[in-house]
């Protein structure tokens, strides 16, 4: 209740909203963030270990699935000659969407001077990195002949063949590759000063050596900070267009085709907003878990959830308008195939999922109009989970509806997921959880130097 009161307090300055008074001291912030990593003995890791064991089990199943796909082929999934894309591609689009929000939060909010990014950017960027890495696995395992993945790259070969540069799938390869490597770099640059703090706080040899090596000898000298700041902002300027282009390209994978429902020029921006939407929803889930698991109530405040809920509300409205634009275009364009496709979406075999998607993505998030909902973390968390489910439905339906309802009725077939399809989806969640759990145990989950700066500004204001 106190936190709600602080967040909603009239006249609270812009900065005061983002930290609670109990964490307005440099040493308190450092201790709060570094202690779980350096003084592990004094922390109970029971929940962590439980989550880790479950995630490793899921990851193992995921690896078995990959082995099965590599040895038996993609026939183990529910894909057929009509619905040639299935869960793997939907999962790819879903994960890459989640992989967008970290850089968006970090880079765009940095450029817009939104101070609240300080305590959220680190774990959001980590989310980006892991989600984009997982997303990169799917196109490769979906290839059918994954051993030829390197044909995507331009290299001199005896067949004198080159990649088809006009293909959106080639753009995808370059966009993802560049994005993952860029994200690693952006993340690491932001981490260097924090590794230095960890090095200087470590009391035992191994952590000091490891964090020391990662900190590269950072001393916090004026020249260090000067170059760092300029580079960080320049990277943010580059990151925003890169992240927008990444999901636009994913949108073009669909929009560049001739299938009914996949010819929408609105796809690139609509995919970018959808990506930001599901990414923010995932950030909320992770923020709530990090806040609870690491007792970060004083750094990740109700005000953070409130502001992210507002972003998600905006995205929900944009998504609603985008869906409506698709339906309108189908009607206004007058093509019977497109009109039938929309009718199939609302009334066909996948209709229950379609209605669920509309409820999760458009209707339920309207609750964020009310500050009472935005400032109740459990409510924001629950709606975010629903948004993630809704966005997953959206991804799978973009594929299923169009492919199941082609131009020729004799080709119409449905997709029936197999056991391995479900393993693909839930196994990837396990892999994500493993990477995330390892991250929170080894790397400061909140950017210490940025929070220190935030509270220094708060003090001087």
């Amino acid at each position: 209740m106190t936190m709600v009161a602080v967040a909603g307090r009239e006249g609270a300055s812009e900065v005061e909203r983002w930290t609670l008074p109990s964490a307005r001291d440099f040493e308190t912030v450092n201790a709060l963030i570094a202690a779980p990593l350096l003084e592990r003995g004094s922390w109970s890791w029971r929940v962590w270990w439980t989550a880790f064991v479950v995630s490793v089990a899921l990851t193992t199943v995921f690896l078995i699935m990959i082995f099965m796909v590599f040895t038996r082929g993609i026939g183990i999934w529910g894909v057929n000659t009509t619905v040639v894309w299935g869960f793997a591609i939907a999962d790819y689009v879903w994960w890459i969407g989640i992989g967008n929000a970290g850089t968006l939060i970090s880079a765009m909010l940095l450029l817009m001077r939104q101070k609240w990014r300080a305590s959220t950017n680190r774990f959001a960027e980590a989310m980006t990195l892991f989600a984009a890495t997982i997303a990169g696995i799917f196109p490769i395992i979906h290839m059918g002949r994954p051993l030829y993945w390197y044909w995507l790259t331009p290299y001199p070969n005896t067949m004198h063949l080159w990649p088809q540069w006009r293909s959106a799938l080639i753009w995808d390869f370059w966009a993802i590759l560049s994005y993952i490597l860029f994200s690693i770099l952006f993340w690491y640059v932001g981490l260097i000063p924090d590794f230095a703090t960890m090095r200087d706080r470590a009391r035992t040899k191994a952590p000091r050596a490891i964090y020391g090596a990662l900190a590269l000898g950072w001393r916090g000298a004026a020249q260090h900070w000067y170059v760092y700041e300029r580079l960080h902002i320049a990277l943010a300027c580059l990151g925003v267009p890169l992240v927008v282009s990444l999901h636009s390209v994913v949108g073009m994978d669909f929009a560049a085709s001739l299938m009914p429902g996949w010819q929408e020029t609105i796809f690139p921006p609509y995919f970018v907003v959808g990506a930001m939407y599901s990414g923010f929803a995932m950030v909320v889930c992770l923020a709530a878990l990090v806040r609870w698991g690491f007792r970060m109530e004083s750094l990740i405040t109700v005000a953070h959830f409130d502001v992210i809920a507002k972003v998600m509300l905006t995205a929900a409205i944009v998504m609603g308008v985008s869906y409506a634009t698709e339906w309108f275009n189908a009607w206004y364009g007058g093509d019977p195939t497109d009109r039938k496709l929309v009718a199939f979406e609302f009334t066909g075999a996948y209709a229950p999922m379609f209605w669920t998607m509309l409820a999760c993505n458009v209707a339920i998030p309207q609750a964020f109009w009310f500050s009472a909902v935005r400032q109740r973390i459990s409510a924001v968390f629950l709606i975010s989970v629903l948004i993630n489910i809704g966005m997953w439905f959206e991804r799978i339906l973009i594929i299923w509806n169009t492919l199941s309802h082609d131009y020729t009725p004799s080709m119409w077939r449905l997709f029936i997921p197999t056991f391995w399809d479900w393993v693909t989806t839930f196994g990837s969640l396990g892999l994500f959880a493993v990477m995330y759990l390892v991250f929170v145990r080894l790397i400061p989950v909140v950017s210490m130097h940025e929070v220190r700066r935030l509270i220094a500004e708060e003090r001087s204001s």
Binding site: A222, Q223, V227, L238
Partner: protein, 174 residues
């Protein structure tokens, strides 16, 4: 040999006051070590320069040109492939690869510039041996001031720093 005074402050305001007063009194400030960037200090220190953005721009444009050149060479010269009569040099479709790789290489160039301009990685530095220097990455602000090596001048500087609120003053020789 120069005598360097390292004055530690637990507060940013005191640290800045000390820096300004030392600067006004004609003492040369050598460097400052802070737990987060303090922009106000830069005006008082020797010139700081960074060419990272120029390097990034050149590297990014260079990579984009190479990527486009590769696309042009492969699609127009080396393996012309007529796909439905579309132009061989399909520049709008060719834009993404130069764009994405250009940004990536610009970022890598920027990071390399960071390393060059900060002298990192340098895992051992004499300053790490100074007692209390580890606080500079946590909660203390350290000012490195060139001081007269002996005599009254030095005592006056030390006294002044103490009056402003230095938590600790150490002397090192360089």
């Amino acid at each position: 040999m120069t005598c360097l005074l390292l004055a530690q402050f637990s507060d940013r305001a005191h640290f800045l006051t000390a820096a300004r007063r030392m600067h006004d009194a004609g003492h040369r400030l050598r460097d400052a070590f802070t737990p987060f960037p303090v922009e106000e200090i830069l005006d008082l220190l020797p010139q700081h320069r960074s060419h990272s953005r120029v390097v990034m721009f050149v590297a990014g444009i260079g990579m984009a040109a190479i990527a486009y050149g590769l696309e042009y060479f492969s699609a127009v010269t080396n393996y012309p492939y007529n796909s439905g009569g579309r132009p061989l040099d399909a520049w709008p479709a060719f834009m993404l690869v130069p764009f994405a790789t250009g940004i990536l290489v610009a970022a890598v160039a920027g990071f390399t510039t960071l390393l060059v301009e900060t002298g990192l990685p340098r895992l051992h530095h004499p300053l790490f041996a100074v007692d209390g220097f580890e606080r500079a990455s946590q909660d203390h602000f350290i000012l490195a001031i060139e001081a007269p090596p002996i005599g009254e001048g030095k005592h006056r500087v030390v006294g002044m720093l103490r009056d402003i609120g230095a938590a600790r003053i150490q002397e090192i020789e360089r």
